[in-house]
Symmetry: C2
Subunit: 285 residues, 2 copies
């Protein structure tokens, strides 16, 4: 007899997203959160933290392309990259495709996420042993406070501002992020959804505006994040993601992406009017 | 005691979208489909045909802005507009905001949808008695076959290619649509989702390519359509939606939209690479 097993992600107490699963591959409880990897019927393998869908094999390329390649192709020559979070490995995988990169440091707080993805989701974790990658299991908050290294691009690949990622939505954290950036540095952060989390977008953009002279937000859509339109914030003191974007660098890289391309880079910064009304006053260019 | 009532839209037999509902406002079965209007906890009132979410008050502006204003601002002076489907009234509402419009004909097959929305969802149906609107309850297939009228813009505001809308995904239908267009006419059609329905997008673009010399597809994201990225197809013999788009017409219209704006118009045609790979060979410009 075929089993009929479903998992459900509740959102805002009035929406539920259900996915049919074939089997559970991993289920654990770390010091920080519950961690589950399941094999779904239609979306490939899926990672959940505290019951929230983080990654599926079917659509992870959308998120990982957009967090990575927008800043990596805006910066003229990114050599040193820092990832805070990103335990599934997908962001590191995309960063490491850029030939200019000499070193990528990834600081993930939860070893269980890394280990579960290494064992069960090679699609995202396949480059976590890459020679240019330094993987540190530590609190990103502490890392940016204490390190003396400087980075060209910093990617805040975090969960929502509940659970272990909550302190990342904070001005003191971004003061330290700025300290870790080179003068042409760029920081991109997971920026939530405009439909239901526009307040959090405003908080994050406000914090970035305290520390950086260029602040933007850009959108993408994947299959599994509640609310359809999701975003990343972008901040830098010198590099504007549109004016300083050199399309020729994408072409000459000879890299092919499933989601990202030159047109998508520019288009992602076009904001729907209802989103403009909520965040435009917080943008700086 | 508070009731805990949820409805579920199943998609592809492996995803379920659940919405908490406060009460059912209407529930009927027409000659064509089941028709339900419910009041949800978080998304306002919601229309469902055959159990599939068509419209919610919270996000209907996304769909209605994008089906309407992209062609209406590409055409230099749309006077006569035909809507096939669109029983909730949201598309007609947006068409009728354009001052150039002299007449809008709307042909909806299912009177029950119109009546239920008139009674329960004034947000979308409020202009269904507008003096410039001629609302015809009839089969759109028959209407475009038989009418001698010509239109500047035709909007195929249909459900998915199952149920009553199935014959609209068909070459004979578009041959008649073309017959009903002026020489500068534009037809825009509900174009499904790239994640799971790219075959249907290919079929539709292929049909449009048989009849029109300019064929495009553009994307949007709302809250409630499964798969995140949804699309509209665009076809015309003369007007390119980017090259012939005159941004000044948007500004001078003095209209304000919740989703649509000049930047979104252009950005919507930027296709993610995985979508390009599936449809680019079918586009014509």
């Amino acid at each position: 007899m075929q089993s009929d097993l479903w998992l459900e992600e509740k959102y805002k107490n009035f929406i539920g997203y259900r996915y049919k699963i074939n089997k559970t591959l991993f289920s654990g409880k770390s010091e920080f959160q519950s961690v589950d990897v399941v094999e779904t019927e239609g979306l490939g393998k899926m990672l959940l933290n505290d019951g929230l869908v983080m990654v599926t094999e079917k659509d992870e390329f959308v998120y990982h392309d957009m967090i990575t390649h927008v800043p990596m192709f805006t910066h003229p020559h990114p050599e040193n990259v820092l990832i805070i979070g990103g335990g599934d490995g997908g962001t590191a995988r995309e960063v490491l495709r850029h030939k200019s990169v000499k070193k990528c440091v990834m600081v993930e707080i939860d070893k269980m996420v890394v280990d579960a993805c290494k064992e069960h989701i090679p699609q995202t974790s396949k480059d976590l042993n890459h020679p240019k990658l330094e993987l540190i299991i530590d609190d990103g908050l502490e890392y940016v406070k204490n390190t003396t290294l400087k980075f060209d691009v910093i990617l805040i690949d975090s969960t929502d501002p509940i659970g272990p990622a909550a302190p990342l939505f904070n001005s003191a954290f971004y003061q330290n992020v700025k300290k870790c950036l080179t003068s042409n540095g760029i920081v991109v952060s997971q920026g939530e959804s405009v439909f239901f989390e526009s307040h959090m977008q405003q908080v994050l953009l406000g914090i970035l505006g305290e520390h950086f002279s260029k602040v933007s937000i850009y959108n993408y859509s994947n299959l599994t994040y509640p609310g359809g339109l999701w975003s990343f914030t972008y901040a830098s003191d010198t590099l504007d993601p549109i004016k300083n974007f050199n399309e020729a660098r994408v072409t000459s890289s000879n890299l092919k992406f499933n989601y990202y391309n030159e047109q998508i880079h520019r288009a992602a910064f076009a904001l729907p009017s209802f989103m403009k009304a909520k965040v435009q006053h917080l943008l700086k260019n």
